[in-house]
């Protein structure tokens, strides 16, 4: 019993229960959802959102936003694809170049935010627009159309596909390697947050940057590192898209930055920073993936798609909140017992933690 209560007290339990509720719901209403194949498709779909969402979640815990996280996936793929297609060099060279490019963008985001003191929302909004424009402009310049050329014939394709877009059958289902990568990234992020020194710093810079600085946390380096983590994961998903689909549409990726943020927030990350959890973010991505595909499996009228999505998301968040309040975890002390909760008043920060 105590163990059970302990479990209930973990911050991600609420999100987990919510995910289960949504999942069981679709099992009940959508017959075609009841198959391993469907489950694997949902997992795959969740992983493509979830990988970047892990980084975005860490960044948000660290108190910053990255609106360029969606388009950078496409930029990453385009850099690799066009560089190699134009010069005919091995794709591995392009992939590394693209990695360097993405890390540079992440560094620039972070550096500008810290250097100018302009909110990251604005800085990365700028990057978002610039990348979006450059994706289209450069692609048209190089290939003359709005999509990159098929690169499957270029050297290195097979090995890169193995790394980024491999899949294997499991019964009648297909398991994509991104799901495994996703799991890995989540575990690393969770370890980092809970057990590594850097995790402590991430919570601190998001919870109160000035206090963190006062006790000697390297705020600037931590935040820049977070931005670079996001763009690294963006690069990773970009590589997957490129090596799974061979070509990329220059206009794609827009709007995904939003999905990452949604996944993080549904998973219990505080928008104002300082609170959250990597498993929560992963569950948030899974909830989003389940819902958006579940509606399709259930065959509901697509005109109402968004309405269903909205209702299901609210439902998930409500379940999450309710479970958290039930469990009297430390996290729940400061929660919404008497709305608007005045607890943690000393912090000068809204006391909503869920």
């Amino acid at each position: 019993m105590r163990r059970f209560l302990r479990l209930l007290a973990r911050p991600e339990t609420g999100a987990l229960v919510a995910a289960l509720v949504i999942f069981v719901f679709f099992l009940l209403v959508a017959p075609s959802f009841r198959s391993l194949a469907a489950f694997c498709t949902v997992l795959y779909q969740s992983s493509t959102i979830g990988i970047v969402a892990v980084g975005v979640g860490l960044l948000m815990i660290g108190g910053e936003f990255d609106l360029s996280a969606g388009v950078i996936t496409i930029s990453a793929g385009l850099v690799n694809s066009m560089f190699c297609w134009y010069l005919g060099v091995n794709l591995w060279a392009g992939a590394l170049l693209s990695l360097a490019f993405c890390l540079a963008v992440g560094f620039l985001n972070g550096w500008l935010v810290m250097r100018t003191g302009i909110p990251s929302f604005l800085i990365t909004l700028g990057t978002f627009f610039v990348l979006q424009g450059a994706n289209l402009g450069v692609t048209k310049l190089v290939t003359g159309s709005v999509s990159s050329r098929d690169i499957s014939a270029i050297d290195g394709f097979a090995s890169l596909r193995k790394v980024f877009a491999w899949s294997f059958p499991l019964g009648d289902a297909t398991v994509w390697i991104t799901v495994l990568w996703w799991a890995l990234f989540v575990v690393v992020a969770a370890w980092t947050l809970q057990r590594a020194r850097i995790g402590n710093w991430i919570y601190a810079v998001g919870g109160s940057a000035s206090s963190a600085r006062a006790v000697g946390v390297p705020v600037v380096r931590t935040k820049i590192g977070l931005f670079m983590t996001v763009s690294f994961l963006g690069w990773f998903v970009g590589m997957h898209l490129l090596y799974r689909f061979n070509t990329l549409q220059a206009g794609n990726g827009v709007g995904n930055e939003f999905l990452y943020i949604i996944a993080a927030v549904v998973g219990g990350t505080l928008l104002t920073g300082g609170f959250g959890n990597a498993f929560g973010v992963a569950i948030g991505a899974f909830i989003f993936g389940t819902t958006s595909l579940g509606i399709v499996y259930a065959g509901w009228d697509p005109n109402w798609f968004k309405a269903f999505l909205g209702v299901m998301l609210l439902l998930a968040v409500l379940v999450n909140t309710y479970v958290k309040r039930l469990s009297s975890s430390p996290a729940a002390f400061a929660s919404v017992a008497d709305p608007p909760a005045p607890a943690l008043a000393a912090s000068g920060k809204e006391s909503r933690r869920d």
């Binding site: 469907a38 795959y44 999509s147 799974r244 689909f245 206009g251 595909l293």
Partner: protein
Amino acid sequence: KDDTKTDSDSGGGNAAGSSGYTVAFVTHETPGDAFWDKVRAGAEQAAKDTGVSLKYSNDPDATKQAQLIQSAVDAKVNGIATTLVTPDALAGAVKSATTAGIPVVGLNAGIDQYQQLGALMYFGSDESLAGTSLGKRIAGQGVKHPLCVIHQTGSVSLEARCAGVKSAVPGTENIQVNGADDSAVTTTLQAKLAQDKSIDYIVALNAQVALDAINAKQQASSQAKLATFDLNTDIAKKIKDGSVEFAIDQQPYVQGYMSVTSLYLYLKNGNDIGGGKPVLTGPSFVDSANIEKILPFTEKNTR
């Protein structure tokens, strides 16, 4: 074989699913687009007429569209009709359908690649062909500098239309507008018309943008003429009163109707429509000459 028949569809014609077939219909529609609304209307009518139960889904993002096809395969539907606007991106998903023994029919886009992808039949026009024929027609009127209005950034099909126009009229210029906001479309066009007075023609790529273009022309007191892709009641009226010269129509209703019907016939009788060749539903011109005949159909959402 049929385990998904439980889904019910609204009545009319044969009982939904009475034929025992389920067809998934996957498009790259951006929600709320009038063009796709007609494609869907056609598909639904065909489903009713043939007693097929229809599962419509859509996503403008190619990778997510591939995902939708994949989930149709997971759901073990009997046939899939899909647009092939980004053939390379969809190849994998289509292949997994064909290897699962599910027949695939292409529509609307992908005329050159559908066979290679393994689709059985194709109903639609060709975006760049449509663009070219529009371009040729206005080039014939001596147009030098048309403006092609792209209302969705980076859309492959819209870019193909404009490229088609440009291939016939080299002076074609593209512009991007925020298609989700009529006032933004209007002001952007207004600004463009003021910036470049030599623009003598506007090519809108959907009906609503054409209506906004009429507004913008008035505001900028521009003499440029206007043509549009796709049709709706309002545009039909504008063609009648002359503010729109003509519309180029690829009969979306037919694309939807035929895709479903052909799958039904294939599943039931093994029929093949088009004899291994694509079936063209357009482009056809709607102008003052034939508008009287077409106007009533636009009101019924069938043209």
